[in-house]
């Protein structure tokens, strides 16, 4: 094992897969000379060349559309959408093309395409640049939606996504790139669609993913000092959504808090809560709590923005609420 940042983990996954399979290539805005706006592909263009690390015009629909087309020819494109806020400009190609072509043509078309993008607020980028609308993409069957919260998962899951023959939306988080974590040495993959217990506990189950894993872990440490042991389940993938570890944990704790960064309504928490009630009704000892973003477009002002985003204290409060 070695301790590396999320950025390094994602970077390594891309690099290793490109070295392993010459059909893998990267395209997107500023992925080349610039090295990626989050510096994930820094140095790639010098090594792989501008064709395989391809800068594109500002044209999100064309980026995703061209990636799909290239994938249909047998290549394995990794398209980068600078942030998920710009994915709306490619919405049709993500949900109407990528998610449907394989099914609609009776399985003839195969599109091994990965769309990497970045969610998250907290950087004072204002309402149009700070969203975490992960749930809306997970609404569409045919698409796989992955959102890792640790360097280990990021590397293993991205490699699986690139090796997968299905279209995968791979959602990174703007404020996790610096986070460090242990990563197994050498080549490894992590199967898409498996939730994971990231922290064992007995009293309350926290279900979360991506950036909120960090927030939830801080809350868990705080609570542990008060003798409350929280078990944290990381969804890692929103579609497919693996409820097994969630239910297992819940049947033990009988109490759950779901923590997501995005807006509460029609979000991830509602789906997970609904499923827990459906699949573990008799184990419910207290109403499941949802911690999520206040339902406002995220403002620029730092205080207001932080007020709207889920904080450690909110998680702590919610956990005590269910106890």
């Amino acid at each position: 094992m070695s301790k590396i940042t999320m950025r390094e983990a994602i970077s390594k996954a891309l690099w290793e897969e490109m070295e392993r399979d010459s059909k893998v290539f990267i395209l997107g805005e500023e992925v080349g000379v610039w090295g990626g706006t989050y510096a994930v592909t820094k140095g790639f263009v010098d090594h792989f060349g501008p064709d395989w690390v391809r800068d594109t015009p500002i044209a999100e629909a064309a980026i995703v559309g061209a990636a799909i087309g290239a994938a249909l020819t047998g290549l394995r494109p990794v398209a980068e959408l600078m942030t998920i806020n710009f994915a709306f400009s490619a919405m049709d190609h993500i949900v109407n093309e990528a998610a449907k072509l394989h099914y609609m043509f009776g399985g003839q078309l195969v599109l091994p395409v990965v769309i990497r993008t970045v969610s998250g607020g907290g950087r004072q980028l204002g309402a149009t640049h700070s969203q975490t609308p992960d749930a809306i993409f997970a609404h569409f069957p045919g698409l796989k939606v992955v959102a890792p919260g640790t360097p280990e998962d990021a590397k293993g899951l991205l490699k699986s996504a690139i090796q997968s023959d299905d279209p995968v939306l791979f959602i990174e988080h703007a404020t996790l790139y610096q986070v460090r974590g242990e990563v197994p040495d050498g080549d490894y993959t992590i199967p898409i669609g498996k939730s994971k217990i990231q922290r064992p506990g007995r009293d309350v189950t926290i279900v979360t993913y991506s950036k909120m894993l960090e927030i939830s872990t801080k809350a868990a440490e705080q609570l542990s000092q008060e003798g409350i042991e929280v078990e944290i389940v990381d969804l890692r993938s929103l579609r497919p959504l693996d409820m097994e570890p969630v239910l297992e944990s819940f049947k033990k704790t009988n109490r759950a808090v779901i923590v997501e960064e995005g807006w509460r309504s029609y979000g991830v928490g509602s789906e997970v809560a609904a499923r827990i009630y459906e699949q573990a009704f008799d184990y419910v000892d207290a109403p499941i709590q949802r911690v999520a973003q206040e339902e406002v477009p995220l403002p620029y002002n730092r205080n207001l923005e932080q007020l709207a985003l889920p904080q450690v204290e909110d998680v702590v409060r919610a956990v005590k609420e269910v106890l």
């Binding site: 044209a59 629909a61 064309a62 249909l72 290549l75 399985g107 003839q108 069957p141």
Partner: protein, 319 residues
């Protein structure tokens, strides 16, 4: 060109027309559902265009795709079966009229979101460029599709990356009920290519020989590595946009005027006047096509519905 090639073009155009007329009837009978966009009047466009493609050339088009499918070598049976939503359909009954494809024949579909397949075409061409294939991607779309953003992004990309794409705009005068000049800043659509400094041309789409020649030259140019080419083909659809079009937007004499330049009629006249084929030979092809279409209908009707399990197949490749 050999005589049999000449006759084959005639055969394909007639086959498309009869298949479409037959489809219209089956739609009236409620055997075909959804939207049905007929290609009647435009047969010379894809027949001429695709007749000069190489096997390695990919074809992708919009939802008005039955004719293109047939020109790409998909049998009338498989087309009919798809229209009836049968398991034997070219898309296993899951795609229907707007979504036919056969990748083994390098036909990449039938796409129903206007203009959305243009970026896909750029990607197909990029794939060939990467892999060093000398294939050209032929992307067909309507006049109305040239007003949506996808068109712009795809054309720009194809020029910047010098992609082997032949952009073919079937200008049939209308996007649904909207005449070209009511929706497009320029009514000569080829002019849009100038905004990308892209080589372009314009040809009469009712004359299959003209379409063939223009397409051949365009394909040659693209294949030679000179980058994308934009071909505007002037044509007309005789029927409504889809079944159940009120057609308030045009007069019947306008349709009649165009029908006087019927692509099949023109070509038939050409074949006979040039003494390439006799009326009898052509009549024989007509009746032969009639039989073939009847058999296709019987095949489709007799074919099984998809099994219920099919509902959950092909959502993903991997579980």
């Amino acid at each position: 060109m050999e005589k049999n090639e000449y006759l084959d073009l005639y055969y394909q155009m007639v086959l498309i027309r009869i298949v479409e007329e037959q489809a219209a009837q089956l739609y009236q009978q409620g055997k075909i559902g959804g939207f049905l966009h007929l290609y009647i009047g435009q047969e010379a466009v894809s027949t001429g265009l695709i007749s000069v493609r190489q096997p390695q050339d990919r074809v992708i088009t919009a939802y008005r795709d039955h004719g293109v499918a047939i020109n790409c070598g998909i049998s009338a049976k498989e087309v009919m079966a798809e229209l009836l939503g049968k398991a034997t359909g070219i898309s296993k009954g899951k795609g229907g009229s707007m979504h036919m494809a056969d990748v083994k024949k390098n036909f990449w579909g039938g796409h129903a979101i206007v203009g959305a397949h243009l970026p896909l075409a750029a990607g197909l061409a990029l794939g060939d460029q990467y892999q060093g294939n000398d294939g050209v991607t032929i992307c067909m779309f309507g006049d109305g599709a040239t007003n949506i953003g996808y068109f712009h992004e795809a054309l720009n990309l194809s020029k910047v990356w010098n992609l082997p794409v032949l952009w073919v705009c079937e200008n049939n005068q209308y996007g649904m009920g909207t005449a070209v000049e009511r929706a497009s800043a320029v009514s000569e659509i080829r002019q849009k290519a100038e905004g990308y400094a892209m080589a372009n041309g314009r040809v009469d789409g009712m004359d299959i020989m003209a379409v063939r020649e223009a397409s051949r030259q365009a394909l040659e140019q693209v294949r030679s590595g000179q980058g994308p080419y934009f071909l505007e083909v002037i044509t007309y659809r005789y029927r409504g946009h889809s079944m159940g079009d009120p057609e308030r937007y045009r007069q019947s004499d306008e349709i009649r005027k165009w029908q006087e330049n019927d692509p099949i009629g023109i070509y038939r006249g050409y074949l006979t006047s040039q003494k390439i084929a006799s009326e009898e030979e052509l009549d024989q092809i007509d009746s032969q096509v009639g039989d073939e279409v009847q058999q296709a209908v019987q095949f489709a009707e007799a074919s099984p519905e998809p099994a219920p399990e099919a509902l959950f197949e092909h959502v993903y490749v991997e579980g």
